[in-house]
């Protein structure tokens, strides 16, 4: 980072300080513009409904928790619990499947390991809608409609490629000596994975898990089609606010913020590895 500072100084020999200041100010303005809708959502969620609907907006209106109260009165907890179940369990499954797979694709690679990797990648490019109908018919036939386990399996398949690619890029950095020592000790596969490799790549596993959690939590299409009253997730619950219902802006903002909160927390926690995860491990 310090090298970068130097470059700016060297290349912009004659550039005056104010030019740099202007660019920094511009960066700030852009950042604020991008975060503004979220801040506006947060502020509005704490306003009373009549104040939230004012035009021009009343920024200094008194704060209240009424928006949150009326949101929680609509009974969102079961859907939030469903979202938590689906996201957490699918993430656990993803890691359990992806971690050994990543090992077999990086540390002790199988033949044609690149083909396998690109197979995983290609499944991400298959549009979700193309598989929707058969999955729906299958669920109808087996009675799995409106069952959270169906979503768990689907979210696992949705995130598995991401986790394999990500974990593989972390495993590539595991020092050779550690693995040699393990094989000299005669450690089996499970022990090598659990007590030798896993501790070294814990941060990588954690960030892969956080990113998988985010994608599962956000998912709408599958959840909308395959769940009903029992297994509906939080995003499906939010679609109940699509049509306007009189004075309800504070409630909508409260709802959106509450449902987004787990993602915001997970995202900020994984901030440093976010690029690596989103680019499927291609960019560090």
């Amino acid at each position: 980072m310090s090298a970068q500072g130097q470059v700016t100084i060297v290349t912009g020999k004659k550039r005056n300080r104010s030019g740099g200041m202007a660019l920094s100010a511009l960066a700030w303005v852009v950042g604020v513009l991008f975060v503004l809708p979220v801040l506006w959502m947060a502020l509005t969620s704490f306003h009373a409904e009549p104040d939230a609907a004012k035009n021009p907006p009343d920024i200094a209106a008194p704060l209240t928790l009424d928006g949150y109260r009326s949101f929680f009165d609509t009974g969102p907890w079961p859907s939030i619990a469903n979202s938590l179940t689906a996201s957490i369990l699918s993430t656990v499954l993803v890691i359990l499947l992806a971690f050994p797979a990543a090992y077999a694709l990086s540390i002790k690679p199988v033949k044609k390991w690149t083909d396998v990797l690109f197979f995983f990648l290609s499944t991400k490019m298959l549009p979700v809608v193309a598989g929707l109908l058969p999955i729906y018919l299958f669920a109808q036939f087996t009675g799995l409609l409106d069952n959270i386990w169906l979503l768990i399996v689907l979210y696992t398949s949705m995130n598995l490629p991401i986790a394999v690619w990500m974990l593989r890029s972390f495993l590539a950095e595991v020092p050779v000596e550690i693995l040699e020592a393990a094989s000299v000790d005669g450690a089996g596969l499970v022990r090598t994975l659990r007590s030798v490799v896993a501790p070294v790549v814990t941060p990588g596993i954690a960030s892969a898990a956080l990113i998988c959690f985010i994608f599962s939590w956000n998912e709408l299409l599958f959840a909308r089609v395959l769940t009903g009253t029992v297994a509906q997730t939080a995003p499906v619950f939010l679609t109940g606010f699509v049509t306007s219902q009189g004075l309800f802006l504070a409630k909508v903002c409260a709802a959106s913020l509450v449902v987004s909160l787990p993602v915001l927390i997970a995202g900020f926690a994984a901030q440093d590895k976010l690029v690596q995860g989103l680019s499927l491990g291609a960019v560090k």
């Binding site: 852009v30 991008f34 809708p37 797979a101 197979f119 802006l249």
Partner: protein
């Protein structure tokens, strides 16, 4: 050296030829494959099998409302899908939506990445602010734009207009006037951070010593950008465009929430959802699904070829 071939996948390629005994080698192969198999089998069953069924269904006459008429339809579904004005409109909307969102957020993301690739006070804070839009649940983000920003009566946009121009301020109905652009802008807001993050990572992986040398040799800022930064960024631009396209082509949340597919904004995922969920025309929905997949494969193979170097490089 032998240690190296054991560990580095890139150079591993195949088991050394001098290894004795085919039997021994094949058991070794299976031991290597074992940790991979659960994930691989799981993926094939969950993602490939349904798609095969989709292909079969796309050649069938199958509407859940008329169960007696189920049968082989040949290419009828494809003919109906491709000659149907709604589907053609949906294909057009999908292309427009994806191209606009990806290009605008790519350009904005590049500018912002360049702004953030400098040292200044609060750089970390600005970066965090920038990625926040990406961390709002897509449905929630769409609700936010629809109700809190675009709404003609109490939305923030018209509120700001009233603030500036007083009582006679124009109060446009954003979504009704420009339905497609309303969806595009909401998506650009969410996807610009994504592009920015990848491009910023690309900028920060530039060989700084070379750039420094160019600066000392008297190359102008623009020359450095045009002839050094941009070529270096090329594969990062391609990668973010590819990944962005893959996600935006499939977008359902924003279209469903902001316009409910009305006002000419129904894209293919939404149309397929409707054909199958409300009209229960399974054959036609499948045919449309197959068309989406073919389109995606075309984009992906074309684009993957250019970005595969980045993945391969990383794979070594």
């Amino acid at each position: 050296m032998s240690v190296d071939t054991e560990v580095r996948p890139g150079r591993h390629a195949a088991t050394p030829p001098n290894k004795p005994g085919t039997l021994l080698r094949s058991t070794g192969d299976w031991a290597r494959r074992a940790p991979l198999l659960p994930a691989l089998v799981f993926m094939i069953i969950v993602t490939q099998l349904p798609f095969v069924v989709t292909i079969i269904t796309s050649f069938m006459d199958w509407n859940a409302y008329y169960p007696d008429e189920r049968g082989f339809a040949g290419v009828d579904n494809f003919r109906r899908v491709l000659t149907d004005a709604n589907t053609r409109q949906a294909i057009l909307v999908t292309i427009l939506l994806t191209a606009a969102v990806v290009l605008i957020s790519l350009l904005l993301g590049l500018c912002i990445a360049l702004l953030l690739d400098r040292r200044f006070r609060g750089r970390g804070v600005v970066r965090t602010m920038m990625i926040t839009p990406f961390l709002v649940v897509p449905v929630a983000a769409a609700l936010l734009w629809k109700h809190a920003l675009y709404n003609p009566e109490y939305g923030l946009f018209n509120g700001v207009l009233t603030w500036i121009f007083g009582d006679n301020a124009p109060q446009p109905d954003w979504i009704s006037n420009q339905p497609l652009w309303s969806v595009i802008f909401a998506l650009v807001w969410q996807w610009t951070p994504f592009m920015m993050l990848i491009l910023l990572a690309g900028l920060q992986s530039r060989p700084l010593d070379v750039i420094e040398a160019a600066g000392i040799d008297g190359a102008s800022q623009w020359d450095i950008f045009r002839y050094m930064t941009l070529p270096h960024l090329r594969q990062y631009l391609e990668l973010s465009a590819l990944l962005g396209s893959i996600y935006v082509v499939q977008n359902f949340d924003a279209v469903f929430t902001i316009t409910s597919g009305g006002l000419g904004t129904a894209n293919l995922p939404y149309t397929i959802y409707q054909t199958f969920y409300t009209a229960h025309d399974y054959g036609r929905a499948s045919a449309a699904g197959v068309i989406v997949v073919i389109g995606t494969i075309l984009i992906a193979t074309f684009a993957l070829r250019s970005v595969s170097t980045l993945f391969k490089e990383e794979g070594r």
